[in-house]
Subunit: 405 residues, 2 copies
């Protein structure tokens, strides 16, 4: 039996990064960027108006106020997207819309709210009621992004803001890391498919569906290899159908029972087994190994054990495999709302509801903690993580918590 | 100008729930359940073994220990999925695998680790080294889910655990709420497509892509209506192409400028406009209305304003539209790491990086807060929310924070 941290280290050491592919920008959200993005342009590309109003010379507005209006002649109108033909001179203004290029001669923009049209003048004029500083209401060229700047680096998980930047930079396609492909094989004579009738002693293969969902949630591509009976030749044949994947997950058949054949079959087909059994609860009977670049997880058959193993072992694998920078914090601390007794030497991952209240997180178990009980798992929004050495955690103590959603 | 809370209330009041559809279980993750799920069976369906070992009568193990082995005869082997043919009598055992049905006559299971095979006996026998309590290592019928129980209720956002339960219950298809369809129309003469060359004064339509990504992230279906010039007939024609959607988002053209035509066009095509301009930053120039059941958001054209408006107004709409129970907390408190000065009467949503450190959240701004600056938006993992009345927030004060990812 191996300690949790040592197991995680052995797993991570076995991970090889995978290659990139080109995707359209509309499909890039949540993907890991596989290239450094430098800006080939300034953004904004030109000084432009932050307001709807009039481009003016600030020196023409000195001492302007509601009691002391300054009069300016409006010599042109420009919309966003247009360029003024004229240059502003002393006591002149150009009507300008948000985002439009600042005309030559102007150094500031007065909001339309601080102006008034003067009626019945031969040339269009406005009164101005506010003194402006040079630069006021102007967005300077390159104030968001400078030409040549490294603006999004390789390994970034792309969010909606990044997608907007890539659009602004004119990148309809970008290189991202390929989505890992993960095979799932449920094993055991007791299993039947979700649509089948239950004969006595049989159960439906829920693990196929929980693992499938977890894979989808991580942004990976699931490949369902179905259910294998406890027959070595059938196990082997079905596992081999996952050889086009980056990771193969088997479920069940890795305990100490005499029909737990998965370990033997994995070894027979050339899996370099790195460890079997981890000092954790749930999830103790885990086999991990690799066949070349393919990582093989022989997950325990109990529904919750398989889900937790995925959460704590497969997720970190995906970060390294896709080269994702780990700038997201996944663990916080919470105050326990009940006493918890545990076994020494084992790391516990308990299903819990954690909520923010009065400036801190509070955690309570979401139900009984049996590793076959899916209901408390479905009610949990988090895992309470209890270290190996301590055996008793009193109500009110602080514990590490990882959110599940 | 309307206060933020009043605006949100008017919006939510306008939302009508949408209908449901049938999906396969593999596509149900993250969908909102549209039916109450009652269990038509007990789970587990029968008493079964939690361990690999031997089913025994606990009374036969009284006082068993490593110094005082009890000898039992092994009368049958059963695998998971099998049913024993024999009934256990005094001093008998049946070899049993995890998950297999407990044989008649047995009331407990001894782990294989506490037993030893006896060699050279005419009938197979084991030594037992541990005293068992009745019920030990047995998972009782219905201990997870009882027949007839309401197990997942309508309005639940389905997580991986729920999917496992639905598989166990034999539900290959379920009713979920249809995914809302949301149209996006970017407006403005200054806009060009992401793949086009930038002429002077032009910018690329990044809002199309940020909004598209936000819609996808919420699990909705985006419909890109492209870019409309500031020409009423073109605006009208393109907006009408969104009439098959639940929500139409336009971007730009809702400010006070003379070319901000979107408001007028919306009114002309029959939009019942509920308000224009919200006392918030960014996002002040928002128009909201409806045409029958279709909700219309005239979003501000500044990239960050549009994104924040989506986050704080469209997301809550989706919760009500899909009938999702709101049991997820979205706001926590954090300690500000810098002084912030703001304008009275406006609610602020500031782009920030928030991290957990020493038992509390700390927030600092992710860059300058101009509403056109996408870089600080892309660097933010959260929004710091500052209420209307207060104008100065000192470093060290506690503020409300909403996470973006």
């Amino acid at each position: 039996m191996i300690k949790f941290n040592a197991a995680l280290e052995k797993i991570i050491d076995s991970v090889e990064p995978i290659e990139s592919e080109s995707v359209r920008l509309t499909g890039a959200l949540g993907r890991v960027l596989a290239e450094d993005i430098y800006s080939d342009t300034d953004i904004p590309g030109f000084d432009n108006s932050a307001m709807d109003g009039f481009a003016v010379r600030s020196s023409d507005t000195i001492c302007a106020s509601s009691d002391n209006a300054k009069v300016l002649e409006v010599i042109e109108d420009i919309k966003a997207g247009d360029i003024a033909k004229k240059t502003i001179d002393h006591n002149q203004a150009i009507r300008i819309m948000t985002g439009a290029t600042i005309p030559k001669g102007a150094d500031s923009v007065i909001m339309v709210e601080y102006t008034k049209k003067i009626q019945n003048k031969p040339r269009e004029s406005i009164e101005v009621y506010k003194e402006l500083a040079a630069g006021e209401n102007i967005r300077k060229k390159a104030e968001d992004i400078k030409k040549g700047e490294l603006i999004i680096s390789r390994g970034t998980l792309l969010n909606c803001g990044h997608i907007g930047i890539l659009a602004s930079l004119g990148r309809p396609k970008i290189q991202v890391v390929r989505r890992p492909k993960i095979a799932i094989l449920a094993t055991g004579d007791e299993l039947v498919g979700v649509g089948q009738r239950l004969a006595p002693g049989k159960v439906r293969s829920s693990n196929t569906y929980t693992l499938y969902s977890q894979i989808v949630k991580c942004g990976c591509i699931p490949k369902n290899l179905g259910i294998a009976k406890d027959i070595p030749s059938q196990l082997e044949k079905k596992i081999r159908r996952g050889f086009d994947c980056d990771i193969i997950l088997t479920s069940g058949g890795v305990s100490v029972g005499e029909f737990d054949l998965v370990k033997d079959v994995l070894a027979k087909i050339g899996t370099k087994i790195k460890f079997w059994q981890v000092a954790m609860r749930p999830g103790k009977p885990l086999v991990f190994g690799n066949i070349g670049k393919i990582l093989i997880f022989g997950l325990p058959g109990n529904p919750v054990s398989g889900m937790i193993s995925f959460e704590v072992f497969v997720r970190p694998v995906l970060l390294k495999m896709t080269g994702q920078r780990q700038d997201r914090q996944i663990e916080i601390e919470a105050v326990l709302e009940e006493d918890i007794q545990k076994k020494k030497g084992m790391r516990y991952f308990l299903r819990a509801r954690t909520r923010w209240q009065n400036g801190r997180y509070l955690s309570r178990l979401s139900g009984p903690q049996g590793s076959a009980l899916l209901k408390p798992m479905s009610l949990a929004n988090s895992l309470v993580i209890l270290g190996e050495s301590q055996v008793f955690f009193k109500k009110g103590s602080k514990v590490k918590v990882r959110f599940l959603d």
